[in-house]
Symmetry: C2
Subunit: 330 residues, 2 copies
């Protein structure tokens, strides 16, 4: 018996959904559900394709209370730029959580991942950053540098933003873009130590394989979100910083210990903190968060299938009111 | 930069592709590639959803020499029949093996899986059944019972077919259907021992959890393909039969040892044969196949992502000549 399947392209998705508090809230709800233990989230299916200089990841999560669950396929083919194509692509498929029937195909080329990743950064900032953030800093100058700062500003409306990247020209452009988008003072800086010293909230958004943020730069009243590491081998934060912080929080321990900052701290023999708290537990109150505005906190975000289910469900919900895209009966 | 994505529904796929020798050949090519060791085929991502009485499997494989690779999502929601819906659904996504871009979405509700599963049965029969099969037998009366016999007949044009199922009325209907489809003599039988005794080729197509084919029924000049077991807990063939046969061949050892007949033989302590051969190795000549028409051979098919990549690539190839479906630029 054929049923309707809604199909949206990247352009249609960009027109339909953006980064706002409703997006942050639905991703927060997914994190809270993760703490409840009823979420079914298998390990990421990861396929390395050395012959094609590519990789493919598949993420999914079933969250009780959500009407659907998403399966996300994220190919990365790193010779694509030579062909004038982006390296990253992919789509999300939303299934009914009751019948398993395909409900929607979001041909987003990674756009929804960008949004849900930035929303997770805002959730971390909401629950872990000092209550008052005057200056925020971002390390990295790409898409996530821009989105993370816009997302964080939704929950901590800072007045000043500092940008650092290895390439000064890109930092300059990123700062100009963000100033125009956010209407606040945004300054490129030449020294990341200076950026951290000035900031109460720092987000690292790089694919670094050696740390870009040193432990000796930590200072009271700082929250750091590291969101760049999503693979074994990546490392943005000096492992000593994890040990030195008052609180380290993982998005999902089973992921951060193999592909997040926690992995590096483990491998350096610097982690003595036992099983760390997860962001969802901080949200629900099952684990303590920041105790005072002077605490130093670190959130380690590797990206979870729960976020994909959250954003895909959110988009599908929004479409009930303003239909767009193509409907196919299959 | 948007690119074209071809989308086909189940009805369009049924009209475009069926079970013929070209389908068998492309699946054979995938098996041969598996033997070459260059295929990248991660373990099945399997998500149990007890709260929904459901499960979801994700399979994929990258095969050198194929222009694309498929990712298949197969949800099974077992309360669906109460709602008038089939339990099994799902889709295949075909990606470019060069760029990772989505090329096609096949909203097949499992149809292509049915076809590629039957084609694998034909590949096993082609390489392992006695050269002359006068009588074939099928155990089970469902969709695969029908498709497996039609597929096997493409490579071993037997004159007589016997059908056994636990439900005699269903066996009668299945026999009538197959007689009409195939134009040969098809008889329902009341005793599976009789079916095996009369046949040179037997295919088991059941979800049995206790064996439906006993070791004492084996006889010289018999080939058995067991294709029903695809999960830990299923078991169609008496474990003693695997030890007693002259040759046991797996579609993929890493799968049959955890969810095929080999698992049951291992757990019964009855497997002393070391690492068995795979079907692909028999095809390429890297492992010996049947030595004489008197040998007793068993093929254990659990279903591989390589078959999915093969069938999806085959369909996409066919569509180059006769366009159908919907094209979306995304």
């Amino acid at each position: 018996m054929p049923h309707d399947i809604r199909i949206l392209t990247e352009a249609e998705l960009r027109a339909a959904v953006g980064l706002d508090l409703s997006t942050v809230d639905v991703v927060e709800r997914a994190f809270a559900a993760l703490a409840g233990g009823e979420v079914v989230m298998p390990p990421v299916l990861s396929m390395d394709l050395p012959a094609a200089n590519g990789e493919v990841d598949v993420k999914t999560a079933y969250i009780p209370g959500f009407d659907g669950f998403a399966i996300k396929v994220s190919p990365g083919f790193f010779d694509n730029p030579k062909l004038g194509l982006p390296s990253l692509n992919g789509l999300m498929i939303l299934f009914s959580a009751t019948t398993g029937l395909v409900q929607a195909l979001f041909l987003d080329n990674g756009y929804l991942t960008d949004i849900r990743t930035a929303a997770a950064g805002a959730v971390a900032a909401r629950h872990l950053a000092p209550s008052r953030v005057q200056t925020a800093g971002v390390i990295g100058t790409g898409v996530q540098a821009r989105l993370q700062m816009q997302a964080a500003h939704l929950v901590r409306p800072f007045e000043r933003l500092l940008v650092w990247g290895r390439d000064g020209a890109k930092a300059q452009t990123c700062a100009e873009d963000l100033a125009a988008l956010m209407g606040i003072e945004v300054l490129p800086v030449s020294d990341p130590a200076h950026l951290v010293a000035q900031s109460q909230l720092v987000v690292t958004t790089t694919p670094a394989r050696t740390p870009v943020l040193r432990a000796e730069w930590l200072h009271p009243g700082l929250h750091i979100t590291a969101m760049g590491s999503d693979q074994h081998g990546k490392n943005e934060i000096d492992p000593k910083a994890l040990a030195a912080a008052d609180l380290y929080v993982a998005d999902r321990v089973s992921q951060t210990e193999i592909m997040g900052e926690l992995r590096s701290a483990h491998e350096a023999g610097l982690w003595q903190g036992g099983i760390p708290a997860e962001l969802g537990q901080v949200i629900t109150g099952d684990a303590p968060g920041r105790r005072s505005d002077d605490d130093i906190t670190i959130a380690d975000l590797t990206g979870t299938g729960a976020q994909d289910t959250a954003i895909a469900s959110h988009v599908f919900q929004m479409l009930q009111d303003s239909p767009s895209g193509t409907v196919i009966s299959a």
